[in-house]
């Protein structure tokens, strides 16, 4: 068996007590090409995103849901750049997530990107709850998205989320497989902003 040395969980050292919907998540590139995302599950993923919190309930997130085999998928997949095209075709769906940074009335929404990120995370957690996996990509042509989808001027395309069922890591090439296994984060101490004078 070539897969026996591969991890059965991605829960990283130090995060074992974190809820498994969070700790066992990683951004795989190995999707199962046989999996089809049914309409009910797709709707549930979008419901999870839609009920995210946002500043003053402004709900700045916008989406395009593209199930594999549809014209939306052909259009969205065609905007992906570089290495993403090598693995993302096997995902069961792609979801474009955009943020309304400026309303039609010209009001700037300072937390539009942050709130879109909350929606991405809610979708990701729901995917895990449904036994699915997710890989969020920034590598796509924003101008091309605007050519193929009706994106209002104040709305900024931000990420494309690949959703599907975990595939066999052994199907990946050596480089991709090594990237699956290499989860790492900076220690919390490097992320904390101290009080002024506290470090004096």
């Amino acid at each position: 068996m070539t897969t026996t040395s591969l991890p059965t969980t991605a829960a990283p050292t130090g995060a074992q007590d974190v809820h498994p919907l969070l700790s066992e998540r990683w951004s795989t590139r190995a999707f199962d090409p046989e999996h089809v995302l049914d309409a009910e599950t797709a709707a549930r993923l979008m419901e999870a995103a839609r009920w995210s919190p946002s500043a003053s309930n402004t709900q700045p997130w916008r989406f395009a849901l593209a199930l594999r085999g549809t014209p939306e998928h052909d259009a969205l997949f065609g905007t992906l750049m570089g290495f993403n095209t090598a693995w993302a075709a096997k995902a069961s769906a792609l979801v474009l997530v955009a943020a309304e940074r400026t309303t039609p009335e010209g009001k700037d929404l300072r937390w539009a990107d942050l709130d879109a990120g909350q929606a991405v995370a809610h979708l990701t957690v729901q995917a895990a709850a449904d036994g699915l996996v997710v890989h969020t990509m920034g590598g796509f042509e924003v101008d091309r998205v605007r050519e193929v989808f009706e994106v209002p001027g104040g709305v900024e395309p931000l990420v494309v989320v690949a959703v599907g069922r975990q595939g066999d890591l052994a199907s990946l090439d050596e480089k991709s497989r090594s990237r699956e296994l290499a989860r790492s984060r900076a220690p919390l101490s490097e992320l904390l902003l101290p009080l002024r004078g506290a470090s004096a």
Copy 2:
């Protein structure tokens, strides 16, 4: 009992099938002032945030963790604006979340705010898993945060997350209580970006 007409779940119509860690979440203003956030739980919340995904694993999130009764809390609470000061003091902790939009080397991180939003959501989900509730605020003085915390120039303070145990909704004034009960979202149809020509 004045509380019998208050909801025991916030799961909104249409989202019943979404995982309860997501569907039963709402941004309460009723925190239990008796609750103390222990160090272990606080560390777990930060672990959940720290293991969020980010563009090319850039990890642009920065935090200040302020447990009620500490100098950090006094400093961070002092930056809150307006109505937030009326209820947020009862929360067990405040967490400042900032985004490194520009690295010390001068590189712009396009997805810094979005990734900070993912970290906020992961913290929020972990809080729910620990039986806690969260209310994320944008209403604070950014300049004042920079005066009291050591915030590098390329790092933008974005939100303050109040964390604690759910308090009695009946303790809220009438206006605040009505806001607890009024969860609403735009229908998905208003959030979807169609293919060009699809609506013709």
